[in-house]
């Protein structure tokens, strides 16, 4: 007799249950659970019956009767057990249920696979996160700056246009009012066009005097953009009188900042340069033309004015007109007008054509940042490609290790398609995780970008993670998943069962996989070379720029701007007296070593120019006059700037308004007119001036100063004494013996002591101005260098991986070779050869690619040819060395093979 409570009994009951469940074909885990639970019940019942006094046999009979008395257990369980949700995600079983269910199963399995190899997962996910994050960041900037439409009606019709005169070294020429009025009347390509100028104004009557960015605009200006004011109105006919400041429209920003969003702002009177002006309108927040204008004033257009080429122009092209057609129309219109007005265009000839550039407004606003952005987005795309190739190789390598797993699954009934789908799901989950991290990374990076000084990236407020950016990130992620997941998935789908079951465990990879891996390495090296060469060229350009002598010393120099308001200061005498007193007081501040005045300081916008001729070198009729930059300065200017006097002397206090007129020129000017002779003592004067007082005698020669940017090609420069040529708006240049910023409040106080209504503005140190002018370049270089470094490190990892796997698979072969007498050197050479061949092929392809690609960098280069041989050589050498080092590690492993060990394995 068996003991009723013995374990043996329970085993029996399990068997009874299991037998009745076979027809259900349950997954093993589920069957075990069911058998456990049901057999326990039978055992409990059996025990109870025994306790009641039944014999073993009797009890057993009753239990089995009860079990089968209600009909077949299997049939009753059939529709409930199958989807109890406890079934493991058993791959290899024939797909049951919906596609979604299958996907969920795949995802669960992928999750487990990812958890099983955390190192691999982390490397892949982080690589992708950085790649997708960087791509998304740069794309959001491209999207915000270049792709987001301007907030105006039909923005694609909006253009700016200007003349250009390369022979006079003038890239942009504004129009005089007379020409603009004629063009506006005759041109047929535009719905309407408007002119504007951007003077600055000092606003008072609202607390401290403040400097506001103002624009005087022709009546049509707001109509061109098709944007109505938020409140009030814009200008109406009759208000376009000369110097009419009596009405003004203000920006949303100024309304909020200065007037606290006062709803009763209309009709309020402010003072602009001391003149009362009534606010008649407020523009919506998104209206930002030109730039960050705060106040708009009406402009009068006098058709008789041809001496001030100072109007900027914007127009709305008629629907269907392209910028090219608009250009041709404008050129024809200007040509016809010039020929009809020989009185103002004496040089015009019938076969001469005006040179006019029409540029879409959105492109104009994006400005200089367009090319760097495009270069960067391509670069980041290339890095992502390289990263994908690496991940694909990692997955291929892993796939060959997992060959056995795949083969087993195949044997269990999984279709090749099912296995490929599973692998693609794994790739998609890796990419998805990477993308999620990447988006977070992009959000942080964008926050940092917004901290850049204002004006570095135009329309930065449009740069954000919006639906288009998310769509881009999703697209990139899917593309990545396909790029790195497709090759391994397709290969896995062509599983060769026999071979894999036999030698899958050894981790060798088949010829097909190796060919794909090798191709990836070649592509990686090619792309890395392109990036390395490109970033090398940019870095070299930057080095050249930094090593340039700007013609002044930027350290310990403070620059600030002042304007004497007209008509409160209505004579040159009054203006000079104001500035003289300011300079005198500033010079007395402790810590000030030198102080000077100039109409335009280096690295500020604007460049006053004049047609200047030299006595005895007047151009023949029809010959173009070279334009020179003209700056008015006080005697202390060169000392304050740290610009040495090369020959002659600086200005003196004695070079006053009544004294003989004098000038200082730069080396370039001197060499242009007197290539072999002495410029000192020669006389120069403005073209067209025939008065006796026109000639200025050259008394000094200074080095070329880079005024607009370090990279500029300095144009001819003339300096005139401020006392003889007075301007109302000027920059004070202060050279100090201590930190220049510490002087600001003292200088402000001294200015206020002379005139409390004149603000000090645009305050900056010269070093800040220089470094700010380089910021975009520095940012581009930094990012591109980072991308290039990432690219070649990834390429190194890539070749290392491929060679390593190759070596691992050929261990037996090396063992045999060594056993047959091959020396370590021979084996080393064998492995290195393969790596060198791969890298060499990549580098060769890359060189061809780089030569084709660098042309797009040309506008970013400075002092370096796009085909700079040393840079290309350096890039090639760096990559080749990296390849050799990366291959040496597995190659040395191959030489240490112990034949006895490998051959026995």
């Amino acid at each position: 007799m068996r003991d009723a409570t013995s374990d043996a009994g329970s085993q029996d009951w399990r068997a009874e249950i299991a037998e009745r469940l076979t027809s259900l074909r349950l997954a093993p885990a589920e069957e075990a659970d069911l058998a456990d639970e049901l057999s326990q019940h039978l055992e409990d019942r059996f025990r109870e019956l025994r306790i009641r006094g039944m014999s073993d046999m009797e009890a057993r009979r009753v239990v089995l009767e009860e079990l089968d008395g209600e009909g077949s257990l299997a049939s009753k369980l059939r529709d409930v057990v199958r989807r109890r949700g406890t079934a493991p995600a058993a791959l290899g079983t024939v797909a049951r249920g919906s596609l979604l269910g299958q996907l969920r199963q795949d995802a669960r399995y992928a999750m487990r696979t990812m958890q099983r190899s955390p190192g691999f997962t982390a490397v892949v996910v982080l690589t992708l996160a950085l790649g997708i994050g960087a791509a998304t960041t740069i794309f959001s900037v491209v999207n915000g700056v270049l792709l987001t439409p301007l907030p105006y009606r039909d923005p694609q019709q909006l253009v700016v246009f200007y003349g250009t005169s390369p022979e006079k070294q003038l890239p942009e020429v504004s129009f005089p009012a007379g020409l603009f009025v004629a063009v506006r009347e005759k041109s047929r390509a535009f719905t309407n066009m408007a002119a504007f100028e951007q003077p600055g104004f000092t606003m008072t009557g609202t607390g401290d005097p403040v400097r506001v960015d103002a624009a005087t605009v022709s009546l049509d200006f707001f109509r061109v953009f098709g944007m109505a004011p938020l409140m009030g109105r814009t200008f109406v006919a009759g208000e376009d009188r000369p110097d009419n400041t009596s009405v003004s429209v203000i920006s949303y920003g100024l309304w909020q900042r200065t007037f606290g969003g006062d709803p009763k702002i209309l009709g309020r009177v402010i003072k602009l340069n001391g003149n009362p002006s009534t606010i008649v309108g407020v523009m919506p927040r998104e209206f930002a033309m030109p730039n960050r204008t705060d106040v708009w004033l009406p402009m009068s257009l006098d058709p008789a004015v041809f001496n001030c080429w100072c109007l900027d122009m914007v127009g709305r092209m008629k629907p269907g007109i392209t910028p090219d057609q608009a250009t041709r129309d404008l050129i024809a219109t200007v040509d016809a007008f010039a020929l009809s007005r020989r009185d103002v265009f004496p040089e015009s000839k019938p076969d001469d054509h005006a040179k006019i550039i029409v540029m879409p407004l959105v492109k104009r606003i994006a400005g200089d940042i367009r090319t760097p952005l495009l270069v960067l987005i391509v670069a980041v795309g290339v890095v992502l490609l390289i990263a994908c190739a690496n991940i694909a190789n990692l997955l291929l390598a892993r796939a060959s290790v997992r060959n056995r797993e795949m083969a087993v699954r195949c044997c269990l009934g999984a279709s090749p398609r099912r296995i490929a789908t599973q692998l693609l799901t794994e790739s998609a989950m890796l990419a998805g995780t990477g993308a999620a991290l990447g988006l977070a990374f992009a959000a942080v990076a964008l926050r940092l970008l917004r901290r850049l000084p204002e004006g570095q990236i135009p329309r930065i407020d449009h740069v954000r993670v919006d639906p288009i950016v998310i769509l881009f990130a999703v697209g990139v992620t899917v593309a990545c998943a396909l790029l790195f997941g497709l090759a391994p998935a397709l290969r896995a789908a062509r599983v060769d069962l026999q071979t894999n079951l036999k030698d899958g465990a050894r981790g060798s990879s088949s010829g097909g996989a190796r060919r794909v891996s090798n191709a990836f390495v070649v592509v990686q090296f090619a792309l890395s070379l392109v990036l390395l060469a490109g970033s090398g060229l940019l870095l070299k350009s930057f080095q050249r720029l930094l090593s340039l002598d700007p013609g002044f010393r930027a350290d310990n120099v403070l620059v600030a701007r002042l304007q004497t308001p007209y008509p409160r200061y209505d004579s040159a005498q009054m203006v000079r007296s104001f500035y003289d007193r300011v300079l005198e007081r500033v010079a007395a501040i402790p810590g000030v070593r030198a102080v000077g005045l100039t109409q335009r300081a280096p690295f500020t916008r604007g460049n006053p120019q004049e047609n200047v001729i030299a006595e005895g070198k007047e151009p023949k009729p029809g010959e173009p006059v070279v334009v020179s930059n003209v700056r008015n300065i006080t005697p202390g200017f060169f000392d304050a700037m740290g610009t040495p006097i090369l020959k002659g002397r600086s200005f003196r206090a004695s070079d006053g308004p009544e004294a003989p007129r004098v000038a200082i020129v730069d080396e370039r000017f001197a060499r242009h007119y007197w290539p072999n002779g002495e410029a000192l003592g020669k006389r120069i004067g403005p073209q067209g001036d025939t008065s006796a007082a026109r000639w200025r005698t050259i008394v000094g020669i200074v080095p070329n100063v880079r005024h607009a940017s370090l990279g500029e090609d300095p144009s001819l420069q003339i300096y005139e004494p401020f006392a003889q040529q007075t301007t109302w708006t000027n920059y004070v240049i202060v050279r100090s013996t201590r930190e220049p910023r510490s002087l600001v409040s003292a200088i402000r106080a001294q200015v206020a002591a002379v005139d409390p209504e004149i603000p000090l503005y645009e305050v900056r140190t010269m070093e800040e101005a220089v470094s700010r002018s380089l910021l975009t370049r520095r940012l581009t270089n930094g990012l591109l260098t980072a991308f290039a470094t990432a690219a070649f490190l990834l390429a190194a990892l890539g070749i290392y991986g491929v060679i390593s796997i190759g070596v691992a698979g050929r261990m037996r072969e090396f063992g045999v070779r060594i056993a047959l007498g091959a020396k370590p050197g021979n084996v080393l050479q064998l492995v290195l050869q393969e790596g060198v061949w791969l890298a060499g092929a990549g580098i060769a392809v890359g060189l061809l690619g780089a030569i084709w690609v660098v042309r797009f960098l040309r506008s970013l280069l400075f002092g370096v040819s796009a085909f700079d041989v040393p840079t290309f050589v350096a890039a090639t050498v760096v990559l080749a060395l990296v390849a050799i080092v990366a291959c040496l590690i597995p190659a040395r492993r191959a030489t240490r093979v112990a034949p006895a060990v490998v051959l026995r394995e």
């Binding site: 329970s10 659970d33 456990d36 639970e37 049901l38 326990q40 019940h41 039978l42 409990d44 019942r45 009860e66 079990l67 089968d68 008395g69 209600e70 009909g71 077949s72 257990l73 009753k76 369980l77 409930v80 057990v81 989807r83 109890r84």
Partner: protein, 114 residues
């Protein structure tokens, strides 16, 4: 004969109500449930393996009860079932229906509720 009829009819209509009521206040395993039904119905209603467990799994699949393996020292593991939130709502509704049904039958047949 009576036993068989009662069994069939009751099981069809009210088996769910029985199970849900029994696990309302504490989790119970399958054998315990079958014992309780047997004893509380004075043997009038009996559930054996082939009727009880499919019913339990169906209720679990609907989310009305939840089974969990519990291991106690020195014993084999057992699966205990407890009422879920959803099950609690269903139980309340079924109780209401049952009461209305019984009252309606009583009004028609004159059989008094015990």
């Amino acid at each position: 004969m009576v036993q068989a009829m009662l069994d069939r009819e009751l099981k069809k209509g009210s088996a769910e109500l029985l199970i849900l009521s029994l696990v309302e206040h504490e989790p119970r395993h399958g054998y315990e449930l079958s014992k309780l039904i047997d004893s509380r119905s004075n043997g009038a209603i009996r559930f054996h393996v082939a009727s009880l467990y499919p019913l339990l799994y169906r209720l679990e699949k609907r989310g009305w009860i939840e089974g969990r393996w519990v291991e106690k020292a020195g014993q084999r593991r057992r699966r205990y079932y407890r009422l879920t939130g959803e099950g609690r709502r269903v139980l309340a509704a079924q109780r209401r229906n049952w009461r209305q049904f019984v009252e309606a039958i009583a009004r028609i047949t004159g059989v008094q509720h015990a």
